[in-house]
Amino acid sequence: METAVLYELLRMLISVVLVVAFVFINALIMGYLERKISAHIQRRPGLMEVGPHGILQLVIDGLKLIGKQLIVPKDADRTLFRAAPLLSFAPVVLPLIVIPFSPKLQVRDFDVGLIFILAISSLNVLAILMAGWGSNNKYSLFGAMRSVAQNISYEIPMLLSLLAVILMTNTFSMQGIVQAQGKIWFFLVQPVAFLIYIVASFAETNRAPFDLPEAESELTAGYHTEYSGMGFSLFMLAEYANMFVVCSIATVLFLGGWHGIPLPFGAYSGAIWFFIKAYGLMVFMIWVRWTYPRTRFDQLMNFCWKYMIPFALVNLLVTAVLVKL
């Protein structure tokens, strides 16, 4: 018994270290991809200086951010200002615990895995509010207000679209949801829910075309205007990790998780399929960001409340009836 507990503790420690390391590596990859893809979409070479095709640029950027001074504005609320980046970082690390990368590669399979992710990621909004209010800056405040309004609104169609899938699988366990898709992936059965989820996830991650909280041209950078050095980079890490979490949920619920044609990597092929799907979705998000202009705020809200929520509700109703038949 004692050794079992020790083994479990060791396993938890190792997995937490791996998860945090993954968040950093993910930010490196995504930062590079985003800058490179945006450059190619705009017909310019992008990063070229550091390393072949600028591949080491993000490492240098990371060192620069670590070395920078942390400045707290004079009239800011010191405690909130300092706590906000930390609070925004924690909730995006935790969901990675329940994501099933392959049949075995998962830190912990909760009964309520999906709810766990949704509950924890709602804390992110609190961090944005703290940052926005604590900075004592008009732009930050506006950014935070927009962020909260859009996050809370788009959470509703997102949850409703996920619920439609849950009705079909009868389980909240992430591993269970993947296993239920052995025959057919749910984006074929639930195309409306998939579409609604993808659109809502753009709003949830504050990505273009719904990036109003950090609109550079009007709000400078929204809620993290006043942050420097690691304060800023924690927000960035959180944003990219949040993108990964959102795309993994889409992968798990709609794209069949680790299912796929067997690859010649033995037990690793499940994890490889998972990463291919998740990163494919993330590249899609980058693609959309550099293709479409930003929406106006009233358009954003109207679209959510007048189109997405009714569609999601009807979809849920139809699914419930069909499941019961």
């Binding site: 507990v5 020790l6 809370i152």
Partner: protein, 173 residues
């Protein structure tokens, strides 16, 4: 076995401390924003206690609803009211001490009544754990009326919010 017990005990007291100090921060601080965040910490501690008692679903719902929605709504309300520099200058505190006292005493008495009336069942002899199917069934069978009444309250709140937000006749946007 000993190590396992130590860890669970430590977790229990950590959650208790979270609840206690969060609550203390919520009532003692002079800055309204800090008070709400203290409340959020306290509610997170309560979620931890649910988790400790073996009901992860309730814990998740506690975080999702109380921390993720209620606290954010309160913060949102405060945020548009004051800036940090304003708070430092003026020190906004409660003015209705009597009403605050009255309501807290009433809530305390209510909790006391509830505590004294409950029959505490040791966890070993409890029949069903508070799992998801159990909760769902009891909400839709045993406590169906209460459940529906709460939804009516929510509906009234939503309608009220819409009526308030509409403003006067003729205003359009």
């Amino acid at each position: 076995m000993i190590l396992y017990q130590y860890i669970t005990e430590a977790l229990f007291f950590a959650f208790i401390l979270l609840v206690f100090f969060g609550g203390l921060l919520a009532v003692r601080t002079r800055i309204l924003m800090h008070a709400v965040l203290g409340l959020a910490v306290s509610l997170l501690g309560v979620a931890g206690l649910y988790f400790y008692l073996g009901s992860p679903f309730l814990a998740m719902m506690q975080i999702l609803i109380y921390v993720g929605a209620v606290c954010i709504m309160i913060v949102f309300g405060i945020m548009v009211g004051y800036t940090p520099s304003q708070v430092q200058r003026e020190g906004i505190t409660g003015k209705n001490t009597f009403l605050a006292m009255l309501s807290s005493i009433l809530v305390f008495l209510l909790l006391l009544v509830a505590l004294s009336r409950t029959i505490w069942v040791p966890s070993a002899s409890r029949i069903g754990d508070f799992t998801l199917p159990y909760l769902g069934e009891s909400l839709l069978y045993q406590y169906c009326l209460a459940f529906e009444l709460i939804s009516v309250v929510l509906l009234a709140a939503i309608v009220g919010a819409i009526v308030l937000a509409r403003g006067k006749k003729g205003e359009h946007f």
